[in-house]
Symmetry: C2
């Protein structure tokens, strides 16, 4: 049996890991915002910084995975506690993939602007999906920080909006390309960026699902109907 | 301390999980092959089967994740043994994502063929990348089954070939679209399929990296230079 002392140690170590995961979350959130600025105005130097930051994120993934393994071996958590650690390991993977997508956006942006003037109103086309996804990612990290299942559920519903926006962008870009083949190159770059944004939305949704798994004990990945959560007292201003 | 009896139990339970993960691997491998047949000849019924199979794969992900958690709680493995379980959890995630990509290929194929005759030689364009990725996935599952670090290393190198093939496809398709805007719709469908194939290659590479982590104790994710493995006696015919 694990005594109270050991259990407190466990809680403390788990909180340390969780706060580092949130730092990692902050870094990929900034990467995403910076990558979108690169896409909008084509700042090559900033693009390189976003791409370089990917190394930091990758190293964080490795060291946080390690920390989770150590915690399990040292503290031998019971089923309930282990659930949180396993969910954290999955969140770390999703954060790393978000960093990858942000770096992809930065690379595409750098190359697109380096080729010369962009032949379409590229940023306007992705403005809405970028805003929705930024909000999703922010909410996912917030829900993970506060282990707020209600907030997590709300943002999972948001993912269908992002998917809808992506299909809309596809249609818009196909129309552009068909009307004027000279836009094809810029349209494809914009499409890749939109795709990367949509993927970031998917990862934010995954994170929300892991939050619900921790809070609620329910694994709602792949659920057709989302569960109802009991009413919570409002958290007031965030 | 874990006695010999308990350790044998642990080994037995781990092997049961690993063989189920391999079954899951077999399913997604078949899904991918079937999806590519749909892309080639447009069999709508088979496409629906590939898409429906995604549910099976999703359920397998959930139950295998659970089995890994139970194993940890019940057997409290030491650091070395835990490494294998954690790597297995990550492999499960990658297999599920491969299933997602196969379903995407099936959906795109179904919709593309439903719209009428395809205006480009779509299958020829992806034939090489499809063959390389199939081989990578097969090798990754094989390396996981036999915990063969050498085979895993070899296939990681293969991923740059897949990436190169993907960029080649991009250039080919852009040329088609620019020369004849009527090909745009089919070219984009082909591009999404190629992208999904390239992602499957990424996931196969991830699996190989986890195999090396288990075999070698080295985490080579994000390593710039791949480690050298000691010479092994050849496994003979596979």
């Amino acid at each position: 049996m694990i005594g109270e002392h050991s259990s407190k140690q466990y809680d403390h170590e788990l909180e340390t890991i969780r706060s580092k995961v949130l730092q990692m979350g902050g870094i990929v959130e900034t990467q995403f915002i910076d990558a979108m600025t690169c896409f909008r105005i084509g700042n090559a130097e900033r693009a390189e910084r976003v791409i370089a930051e990917d190394d930091t994120v990758n190293q964080l993934e490795l060291s946080l995975d390690d920390a989770c393994s150590h915690l399990i071996v040292k503290r031998q958590p019971a089923a309930n506690d282990l659930r949180t650690v396993m969910a954290t390991v999955k969140v770390i993977t999703d954060l790393e993939r978000i960093g990858d997508e942000a770096a992809k956006i930065a690379r595409t942006s750098r190359d697109m602007h380096a080729r010369g003037p962009v032949s379409i109103n590229h940023y306007e086309i992705v403005r809405a999906i970028s805003a929705s996804t930024s909000a999703m990612l922010h909410d996912a990290l917030d829900a993970f920080a506060r282990l707020d299942g209600r907030q997590a559920l709300a943002l999972i519903a948001q993912d269908t909006v992002v998917d809808h926006e992506f299909r809309q962008i596809m249609r818009t870009l196909i129309t552009f390309m068909m009307e004027d083949p000279r836009t094809i190159s810029s349209a494809l770059d914009t499409l890749w960026v939109a795709k990367a944004i949509e993927r970031i939305g998917d990862h934010a949704k995954n994170i929300a699902e892991y939050v619900i798994y921790v809070v609620d004990g329910k694994d709602i990945r792949h659920a057709k109907v989302l569960p109802e959560l009991p009413d919570q007292v409002s958290d007031g201003e965030r």
